[in-house]
Subunit: 315 residues, 2 copies
């Protein structure tokens, strides 16, 4: 008997990961490509199609689950995603369906990750949590009473665009001071350029023409003072923001997911310290900060695929 699989695809601002997952949640095949290498979404769809076909999985494929920034479950469209170079409204689910001739479910990337953590990861024991994705941008997936919140238009959980600094950094969304302009891989890189410090001139970070968020965290681990200040600044802004976000759903935990969260436990400990200092008294000591249990790509791939299975089973 043929083993059926689902194709999970996680479209990110920088990379796109995809993998084939069976009903048990086992990843049979996975790969990653650079999103920005593809001028239009059609060519990215084409590339993934060819890869799946060449690896012999086309026959056993039941359907697709796609996670993408500003991905709208209701419409199947990516709508005005500030962190993708494909602008406007992109009918991404339709593009995949036309190419693969399989049902395709679209989810916000952070929602897909939250579903993955709830099914297989560090949120298995939680009914009320908020997952925060720290990637090119910052997103969130919100679970309340064991259910994912999608919102009246399908756009719940846009925490990256809560403004946390008055007249702050210009965001891709056109507004100023959005959380993701500070707390994301691009935000950390902006901090290298925009923050002033007496340690800046001595820092290894300012010796290079281009630096990544990962390099900032590595430099901080090596004792680079300016890098340490940036990590502290980033943790302080995130901790403060999480303290205020708690006032919405009063979650049991925040899960930190993605690049910055993988920089080690010390980042989440700093975030926890700043959050705790700024929480309303009634929440103090009651909200955990956890790191994601799953590798970035796996979680998203599993999450989107699982979401699709769920929907399929419900029908």
């Amino acid at each position: 008997m043929i083993e059926h699989v689902a194709l999970g695809i996680d479209i990110g601002g920088t990379n796109t990961a995809y993998g084939l997952v069976n009903r048990k949640g086992e990843v049979l095949f996975e790969d990653s490509i650079v999103t920005t290498d593809y001028q239009d979404p059609e060519s990215l769809v084409e590339k993934i199609y060819n890869d799946v076909k060449e690896n012999g999985y086309l026959e056993s494929l039941l359907g697709l689950g796609v996670g993408a920034p500003n991905g709208n479950t209701f419409t199947g469209n990516i709508e005005f995603a500030p962190n993708l170079k494909w602008k406007g409204v992109i009918p991404i689910a339709e593009l995949f369906e036309q190419k693969f001739h399989r049902p395709t479910l679209l989810a916000n990337d952070a929602n897909a990750a939250a579903i993955g953590e709830h099914l297989f990861g560090n949120a298995k024991d939680l009914n009320d949590f908020v997952l925060i994705t720290l990637g090119t941008g910052l997103g969130s997936g919100i679970f309340i009473d064991g259910e994912l919140i999608v919102g009246s238009q399908g756009f719940a959980g846009e925490f990256g665009h809560v403004r946390v600094v008055q007249n702050g950094r210009l965001c891709g969304c056109g507004r100023n001071g959005c959380l993701e302009t500070y707390v994301s891989s691009t935000g950390v890189v902006r901090s290298v350029n925009e923050l002033e410090s007496i340690h800046k001139a001595d820092s290894t970070l300012t010796k290079k023409s281009k630096v990544s968020a990962k390099e900032v965290f590595l430099a901080a681990n090596s004792g680079d003072q300016f890098a340490c200040e940036i990590v502290e600044y980033t943790a302080e802004i995130l901790g403060n923001a999480l303290a205020d976000f708690a006032a919405f759903s009063n979650p049991k935990a925040y899960l930190l997911f993605g690049g910055l969260a993988q920089s080690g436990a010390y980042f989440s400990e700093k975030v926890k310290k700043y959050m705790e200092e700024n929480l309303l008294k009634i929440y103090q000591g009651n909200i955990e900060i956890r790191n994601s249990a799953l590798h970035d790509m796996n979680a998203a791939v599993l999450g989107t695929a699982a979401a699709m299975f769920w929907k399929a089973i419900k029908k």
Copy 2:
């Protein structure tokens, strides 16, 4: 046959309203007292008990529903309410039960109001909305998919304590810049004292030793320039905050409820304008602002009583 009633009680920072409601939602009797006249919660419970008894409703009383700031449904306690002079943890449900010998359900005051609007008011057609109470403080009741959100500890929707101004006004909660220090009846009165304006010296507001939020709105209606500036300032801060709150649950509407909301449609129109200017593109044109349909007291009383009926029926 005796007609059974529920006693709904809305404990506010300034006034406490209570009323007897039958199963049809009809208010048979209602009254209001000044909360701050009661040194301890026991004396307030005593007063309401005597009133219900004297009016002959004790025999037909099935149970009580209480709405209060920081009222926790899970514990039956009012916990650290910044806007009540009774401090710490108050076992309010237990106090009412001991006096009345009837089951008593406690709800956050804003949650009670949201239930009331959803049952009888301007949110009857809505499954996804956030009710904002503008009273002594600022609270919120959040409906998602037709269900009230209570949170892991029972403290969801503490929007009044989201910090909207960096290093802003000192709040009763001990933190700075909380929304309710600007947008509430006490916040508006603070604006009279703290804001500077070239129109301040000429304003009728500065001629009195004490002024209420209602007087500020009346003065603005009469063309008092300083009063107009305060109304504009208050609407701008609220509109801005609502724009960011939308990023959580992506609601279909906000309902404005309580003292400030009753100052006429023009306040909510100003709030709408500022919200719209500051919304993320994907939300623009998709979120309504409505005023409460119900008189303050009625809605809260009906809401709490109805909540109690619901719970009773479910058991």
